[in-house]
Structure formats: C-alpha cells, structure tokens
C-alpha cells in the first residue's frame, strides 16, 4: 500500500483529507501538523510516495517550503504537492511554484479533482 504524508496545521483538514484519500485510493496517510513533527519519519521517508504540504504552518513556525527543503535534504524522492489557503500570487506560493517536481493548488480544491491530482502523483 502506498503512503502519503499530509502536513497541515489544521487538524480537521488533515483528518478529512486522510479519510477521503484512504477511502478513494489504496493508500495509507500519515498526518503531521508541523515540520518538526516530520523528524520522527526521517528514517522511513522513502516509504512515502507523495507529500501533501500546506505552506503556512502557523505564524513564526517553519513553513511548508522549509519542510520541502528538509524532505529533499533527507533524500525524499517522491512527489510534493503544495495546497495553500493563500493566493497563488503570494510570494511564498510563487517561490513554491518555482521548485522542481512540485505542483501547487489553492484551497479549496474540488474533491474529485484533488483525488485525481493525488492519483496522478502516485502514478496510478
């Protein structure tokens, strides 16, 4: 079963997204609220096929971009998808869009489309 890392500071959104994806696709979702919480997964990062990252993880805390760089630094090879509540013109969202191997979407994404995006990222 393929694994998806969900990094979002909103508990309800994490839970809803994980439940939706696990019902629609043969995947297991691991939910994390902050970048530092991901450190516990450092040794098994390559088990993840897709990482769904929020950009704003709380004021004064490392952002989704910081998490992205950390993931890549630790050798994570999978796809990264940014989903942000901010406008895509936001400087951080623009910076995320320029990163290699990254897709970025603005919340709220229609559910069917979201499932399609993750399915495509999983290569199914």
């Amino acid at each position: 079963m393929k694994k998806i890392l969900i990094l979002d500071d909103e508990l309800e959104l994490r839970q809803s997204l994980a439940a939706t994806l696990e019902m629609a696709l043969p995947v297991e979702c691991v939910q994390r609220a902050r970048k530092d919480d991901c450190h516990q997964d450092e040794s098994r990062l390559n088990e993840f096929h897709v990482a769904v990252l929020d950009i704003n993880l709380g004021h004064g805390l490392p952002t989704g971009l910081d998490a992205y760089f950390w993931l890549r630094l630790c050798g994570y090879q999978g796809r990264c998808i940014f989903i942000t509540g901010h406008a895509l013109e936001h400087p951080l969202a623009q910076e995320a869009a320029r990163l290699p191997g990254v897709e970025i979407f603005e919340k709220p994404v229609e559910v069917r489309r979201l499932i399609g995006i993750i399915k495509e990222a999983l290569g199914d």
């Binding site: 997204l17 019902m23 901010h86 400087p91």
Partner: protein
C-alpha cells in the same frame, strides 16, 4: 489623519508662522531703515504689524487643523497693518528726501514678494493681497505733493508693477504645486487604503479556505459512507459551493508583488489598524 490633511495642516501652520516672523522682522527693519521721522502714528502702525504677527503666530500654534479659509482670513488680518505701515513709511520718506533723487515704493517691492511666498491658499484672496500693493502705490503717488514728485525718478510705478506681476506668477505657481502635492498625497492614501483592504480580504480568504476545504471533503465522505444522509450532505455541499463561489469573487483582489511584503499571518493582518 490622511497624509493630504497633514500636508495641508503643516502648510497652513507654516504659512502663518512665516507671516508672524516676517511681520516682526518687517516692523523692526522698517523702523530702522526709515529715512523719515518715526513719530507716534508710525510707531502705532508698527505695533499693529506686530499685533498682526502675534495673531498669525497664535493661530499657527493651534493644535487643530487650520482650514484654508481660516488661514487665509488670518493672513489677510495680519497683512492689513502692513499696508498701513508701508503707506506711512512712504509718506514719511517722501517728506524727508527733499532735494535728492528718490525711488519710492521699495518697501512695497519687498512686501509683495513676501506675500507671494506666504499668501493664503484661497486664490482670490492671495491675488487681491498682491494687487493691493501696486494699487496703494498708485493711489499714494497721486497724493504726493509736486515738490516730492519733482524728486522722484521717472515712471516710479514700473518697478512695483513688475514686482507684482512676478509675485503673481510666483504665487500661482506655488498654488499649483500645492494642489499637485495634495492630489499626490491623497492618491497615495487611497492606494495605501486599497492595499490594506486587499490584504484584509486575502487574510479572510486564507482563514476561510482550510475549513471550507475540510467541509467539502467531509460532505464527500458523508455522501459515500452514509447514502441515507445524502440529502443533508447535499445541502451542506451546496452551501459550501456557494462559499467557494464567493471565494472566486474575492479572487478579484490579487496581490501586487511590487507593493511590498505580505504577512503569512492572516490573523495578525486582520488585527492591524489603519
């Protein structure tokens, strides 16, 4: 207070402060350089000039914004004794220069340029204040006795008329510059307000988007897991879709990356004032 209002306030305050200073200096210099006798009426006129200066100085100390019309009225009140003072100085000087060639209205020339630099923002008042000097010079020239006229150089009104025309041009240019500066400040305030509004809209969007995304996902889950709740889920879904449509409307407010950094902290953005 907008920047335009601040500029206006500081302009009118400075104008009145300038007038007060020059009234004090003008009274002193007028008395010191006078060729004629300094009698009681001249001293009284000088005192009135100082009083006019005190009036302007008092107004310039006001904490309230001095409106254009108030500043103009105050300026004219402070200027009235100046007309009287230069008239009396001319009369005394004319009497004192028997037997020598005399150039009258020197005080007028300096005064009219000073008025051009400080004249009030109400244009008709400013123009009238400037034109009063050549007019007074003309009237006074008609009243000089023949003995005095004999010692005045030819065409004595030409310099004061030339100075007055120059002063008019200077004054009108000053008023035009002031108008442009105020318009620019108002425009800047509008842009700042619009940016603040846009940032607030974007912050609201950001705070609403994650819960909205969760609702859309949960509605989908509810419909799939509990078909018996499909009607309720459908209603929630439709309401959520309406919120999504509102979100699309708010997309009209986009970020301009050239207008400086935007905070990632939407709550802090909404707490900002002004």
């Amino acid at each position: 207070m907008t920047k335009a209002a601040r500029i206006l306030r500081s302009h009118n305050h400075n104008l009145l402060l300038g007038q007060a200073t020059l009234n004090f200096l003008g009274a002193a210099i007028g008395l010191l350089l006078s060729k004629g006798a300094i009698d009681f009426p001249v001293l009284m006129a000088a005192m009135l000039v100082v009083l006019g200066g005190l009036l302007s100085w008092g107004e310039s100390r006001s904490r309230e914004t001095v409106s254009d019309s108030r500043a103009s009225a105050c300026f004219v009140l402070g200027l009235l004794p100046v007309y009287l003072f230069v008239w009396m100085l001319q009369a005394r000087d004319g009497a004192a220069v028997y037997g020598t060639l005399w150039t009258p209205f020197r005080h007028h020339e300096l005064s009219v340029l000073t008025v051009a630099l400080l004249a009030p923002p109400v244009i008709w008042m400013g123009v009238a204040c400037i034109l009063c000097f050549p007019l007074l010079a003309y009237i006074q020239l008609q009243q000089f006795p023949l003995e005095v006229l004999a010692h005045i150089e030819s065409r004595p009104l030409v310099p004061i008329v030339a100075f007055s025309l120059f002063a008019l041009g200077l004054y009108l240019f000053r008023m035009r510059w002031r108008k442009i500066a105020c318009s620019a400040a108002e425009r800047e305030a509008e842009v700042r307000l619009m940016k603040r509004f846009t940032n607030s809209i974007l912050a609201i969007k950001d705070l609403a988007n994650s819960p909205l995304q969760a609702i859309l996902l949960d509605v989908d889950l509810l419909q799939k897991k509990h078909p018996d709740c499909a009607e309720v889920a459908g209603r929630i879904g439709k309401s959520a879709e309406k919120l999504r449509d509102l979100n699309k409307v708010l997309n009209a407010y986009r970020i301009d990356p050239t207008k400086g950094p935007l905070s990632m902290d939407s709550r802090a953005e909404l707490r900002k004032k002004g």
